[in-house]
Symmetry: C2
Subunit: 274 residues, 2 copies
């Protein structure tokens, strides 16, 4: 039995969201969910103040009763607490898996850089709000229960990381950015114009050094601009990979959608966890 602590380092979810996810979890053997009450707090944009979100994350991560910390939802805010959190993580925190994506990538990155626990790009409880979102949530629940079939395999299962493109761009050059040498970097984006995606690729490819390659996830809900950009997302990725000498390795099965697959960060040896 793996006990999973759920907190919200960015935006909140509702008790109804939590109830629906808890219902789903009853059908999955060997997984028990524990929603921290901070998940339901609100302060402006965030699920409570920075101090509240930080405290809840530390409670979950430092509790040896848990085997995994699952982030409830993205939406912006994790970056405001990661630097303060890392030095306060103890031994129990190192034994946990950390699951989330989108804005919670700031935490996955900081943890990976600090070599604390096992960061995993994975659907979150908040995905229950999507039409058909049960499939996404169940993918993570089954993974937590030991079923690895929801993983994004990648070419030759090369060690990988996965990030929202904006999140990765904002991480570059900060004290949270891990060394990605030798890894395949998967990126996905949502609700950004293609010119913005092009600009983010300019930035990210200037920072990525000695990665094994880049794979392009899905771009969801791309807004219409007043003029068509004139090239598609794959041409954008190929352009900037070519300029910066990064191998472009094709598409990745991740995105802000119900088909979003699971990507454990880095080497297999660092992520054995059942």
């Amino acid at each position: 039995m793996i006990r999973v602590a759920i907190c919200a380092p960015a935006r909140s979810i509702t008790p109804e969201d939590a109830a629906r996810v808890t219902d789903l979890a009853t059908a999955v053997q060997g997984v028990s969910l524990n929603f921290h009450p901070q998940c339901f707090q609100n302060e402006g944009h965030f699920a409570g103040s920075d101090a509240q979100r930080l405290a809840a994350f530390l409670e979950c991560a430092n509790d040896p009763a848990f085997g995994a910390v699952w982030f409830a939802r993205g939406g912006y805010g994790s970056n405001r607490i990661v630097e303060d959190a890392l030095p306060q993580l103890g031994e129990a925190a190192n034994a946990q898996a950390y699951l989330g994506y989108s804005d919670t990538g700031y935490l996955l990155a900081g943890l990976y850089r600090a070599r604390i626990g096992a960061p995993v790009h994975a659907p979150m409880p908040g995905d229950i709000r999507r039409a058909g979102g049960e499939a996404a949530v169940l993918r993570t629940l089954h993974w937590l229960g030991g079923d690895r079939s929801g993983e994004e395999p990648g070419p030759g299962a090369h060690p990988a990381v996965a990030f929202n493109l904006t999140t990765l761009a904002m991480l570059c050059g900060t004290p949270l950015m891990p060394d990605l040498t030798g890894l395949v970097v998967q990126v996905e984006e949502v609700s950004e114009h293609l010119y913005s995606v092009d600009r983010l690729f300019f930035h990210v490819t200037a920072h990525l050094r000695d990665v094994a390659g880049l794979r392009l996830g899905r771009l969801g809900d791309v807004p219409e601009n007043d003029v068509p950009f004139g090239r598609d997302e794959e041409q954008i990725a190929r352009h900037w990979c070519a300029r910066s000498g990064i191998p472009y390795l094709g598409r990745a099965d991740i995105g802000h959608d119900i088909d979003n697959k699971i990507v454990p960060f880095g080497l297999e040896s660092r992520r054995a966890r059942d």
Copy 2:
């Protein structure tokens, strides 16, 4: 008489825009405008292909007949040509002022880093499209004619640079990013949610080292989000400045609007030009 070459490294303007700006310039002593035909080209999002925009910029910058190169309009695209442009700039390019803002900040940054010419944050011909835009365009025209009254004075006229916040964020850590040690950095933004502004400040303040301070220009057209962010733009700037040890020096009179003032980059000694 200063002869001014105008090219469009990002998006295009129309011949009508150019005619209106040319009309305004007739009232300004000592300034003659020369619109490069590339200003009116279109390819997808851009004012012509990367190769066309690069060639036009090099023609303007490398022509000793000109005393200044004025960028026609922002909107995205300059970052795609700067790295290729810099090594192709000759002696004549070093004697020029370069004027623009917003997306053309990639050029101003790259030129400043390479110590080529005198980069100047200033209204562009494309500002003629704004209601009351004549005032913005005339501000730059008068500056070109030798009248410095349109400059953003700053506290004690400390040497400064000015950037669009997104542009500066995308520059950080790239081969175009200049050393800003000892300078006051002014930033402005347009059409970004407050959570996005907060995220950009997280990134930018992690990169700015040993700057003299940061001043906050205007945030134009901030979109409504589904929840209010919970703090205003100045609280955001103060928060990230405090966290990163950067002195916050108050507001700056720049923005994507007709009141946008002129900021010559860096030291007075590097920008004597009449």
